[in-house]
């Protein structure tokens, strides 16, 4: 049994200053193995993005550990964080490529940034950028375009290429397809699913869209108000959810057949249960 790629243990994170400081994550534990796509689902404000950002060292944590391979991210001193990030072991794909790509840089320049920061020679960088563009299924010529000149799907694929050229072990995708149209969404989801075998990397896929999660994840972790309320193989969690929140979530999603899979009364029941404060 190999060590998991990512092991989060009992993580507590608070955000805000002074009196406004609130605990967002209350002792969260999770793992991601190599070659596996783990879906992280939960409502807005549940702490999904905070968890993702903590893994990258973008938040200070109150307690707990985040082990990436054999490094505990929470123990890295601020001065060494930059060097750690330059190693590129964990990379991030943001939700909206219009915001995560510098509008003044061409696609190739954006992809190349991480490599150039490392100080690699230009020829190597160019070769890696070309490979990256090809890996995400785009034409090399698109590299010289600005983000505004690309479609939403192309932009997001450039953002993914940017993350991939650094050869990370862990890829964290935060709502990568939410801002995309149906056709683009499918392409990007297929691309992400395919990466599993191409690079043997592990992926944390954060989404509130159950459809995408159902499509490509192997396991699901459900986050509700800063705690993990359920986790397990995708099929299990979606077919037989145990926690009321998961039941409500899965049941609320509309299907092509019409209604969500549970009716209104049942939903109201679950909401009341949650409001009353289930463990």
């Amino acid at each position: 049994m190999s060590e998991p790629l990512l092991r989060v243990r009992d993580l507590r994170v608070s955000l805000g200053h002074g009196r406004a400081r609130t605990e967002i994550l209350h002792g969260v534990s999770a793992t991601v193995e190599r070659g596996e796509i783990v879906g992280l689902i939960g409502e807005t404000g549940s702490g999904k993005t905070t968890l993702a950002r903590s893994v990258l060292g973008l938040n200070r944590v109150d307690s707990g550990s985040i082990e990436l391979g054999n490094t505990d991210v929470t123990l890295i001193p601020p001065r060494r964080l930059r060097a750690f990030r330059a190693e590129g072991r964990a990379q991030y794909v943001f939700q909206d490529p219009l915001q995560s790509l510098d509008p003044a840089l061409t696609a190739a320049e954006s992809i190349a940034e991480g490599l150039r920061v490392r100080g690699l020679p230009a020829a190597e960088v160019d070769a890696a950028v070309r490979d990256g563009i090809e890996l995400v299924g785009l034409d090399e010529a698109l590299g010289s375009r600005l983000p505004a000149e690309l479609s939403g799907g192309q932009r997001q694929r450039i953002a993914i290429a940017r993350a991939l050229v650094l050869e990370p072990d862990l890829l964290i995708c935060d709502e990568p397809v939410s801002a995309l149209d149906a056709t683009n969404r499918i392409q990007v989801l297929e691309l992400l699913a395919g990466l599993r075998s191409v690079r043997d990397l592990g992926m944390l896929f954060i989404s509130h869209d159950l459809g995408s999660v159902a499509g490509i994840t192997d396991r699901i972790i459900v986050l509700y108000r800063g705690t993990v309320v359920e986790e397990g193989p995708t099929a299990e969690v979606l077919v037989a959810p145990r926690h009321p929140y998961t039941q409500l979530l899965v049941g609320s999603a509309p299907t092509l057949a019409g209604e969500g899979s549970i009716d209104r009364e049942k939903r109201a029941e679950l909401r009341a249960l949650l409001a009353a404060g289930t463990p």
């Binding site: 930059r82 509008p103 953002a159 940017r162």
Partner: protein
């Protein structure tokens, strides 16, 4: 940036006026037909004539020559003040975003207190302190316009620093210096350019006001403001007198402001006020409609 400005009618007109005045300042004193300090007692307060294109003043000095000589001083002083302001404002503005909270707080409070000081009074006080020279006065003015540059630079830097692509850059290990070079500078420079053009106009107004009051320059040194002041004294004999330096000041300041506007329009990427929209822009907007 330069090309974009010159594509606009406002930019062309403003740049032309400024270049013209600049030419006057640089070449004027050499081209002046008479010595601006020497007066011809035989023709005092004369009207425009073939010998004196703009006439003569109360001491028989050729007005045109004085105007040309004064332009150098006026423009140079304005540039001096703006230069000092740029240096003292832009650099702290950029640094305030990156050097941590203490520096940020200190620089903000320092700039805030500078803003409370009134220009002319402070300039006059400075000349009392440092000596009655235009350079001293403009140094004072430079200090007082620094906060404007500071704020403009800081605002642009903050907007970029809090953007997601800068965060993405940090996540691949980019240093703050790298971020400034790659992402920040290209976006901050246009804003600073607009502020500079505006400040040059403001600086010129202040120089004219100071010299009008007789501060910083001793007569018989010619300055636009000084000429305006003396001309007002001879309003009855030469009613059109004050208009000459006044108009020159006005069109120069107007040209600087016009240049600032043209620069702003040329580099404004927010698209909020672009009057002419290209076809592609509309198409793209509607694609998200």
């Amino acid at each position: 940036m330069v090309r974009a400005v010159l594509r606009r009618p406002l930019g062309i007109v403003s740049a032309s006026v400024i270049l013209f005045v600049l030419a006057l300042a640089v070449f004027g004193p050499a081209l002046a037909p008479y010595d601006p300090l020497e007066g011809d007692v035989r023709s005092i307060l004369a009207g425009p004539s073939a010998e004196h294109w703009l006439g003569t003043d109360a001491l028989g000095r050729d007005v045109l020559s004085r105007l040309l000589a004064g332009s150098t001083l006026s423009l140079l002083s304005a540039a001096e003040a703006v230069g000092i302001g740029l240096l003292l404002g832009v650099i702290p503005g950029l640094l305030s975003v990156y050097l941590g909270r203490v520096f940020e707080w200190l620089s903000l409070r320092f700039m805030d207190s500078l803003i409370t000081l009134p220009f002319l009074v402070f300039a006059i006080a400075m000349t009392a302190l440092l000596g009655n020279g235009l350079h001293q006065a403009m140094f004072a003015v430079g200090i007082l316009v620094a906060p404007g540059f500071y704020r403009v630079t800081r605002a642009a830097a903050l907007a970029v620093a809090s953007s997601q692509y800068v965060e993405a850059a940090r996540l691949v290990g980019a240093s703050p210096w790298w971020v400034v070079r790659t992402h920040l500078w290209g976006k901050v420079a246009p804003t600073v350019a607009v502020a500079t053009a505006n400040m040059l106009g403001a600086g010129l107004v202040i120089v004219s006001a100071l010299t009008f009051l007789g501060i910083g320059v001793q007569p018989p040194e010619p300055t636009w403001g000084g000429m305006l002041a003396t001309d007002l004294g001879y309003l009855f004999q030469r009613p059109y007198g004050p208009f000459i330096p006044a108009v020159l000041i006005m069109i120069t300041v107007g040209a600087f402001n016009g240049l600032a506007d043209a620069l702003h329009d040329a580099t404004d990427t927010s698209g909020a006020r672009t009057r002419s929209r290209s076809r592609t822009n509309t198409r793209k907007e509607l694609a998200h409609a």
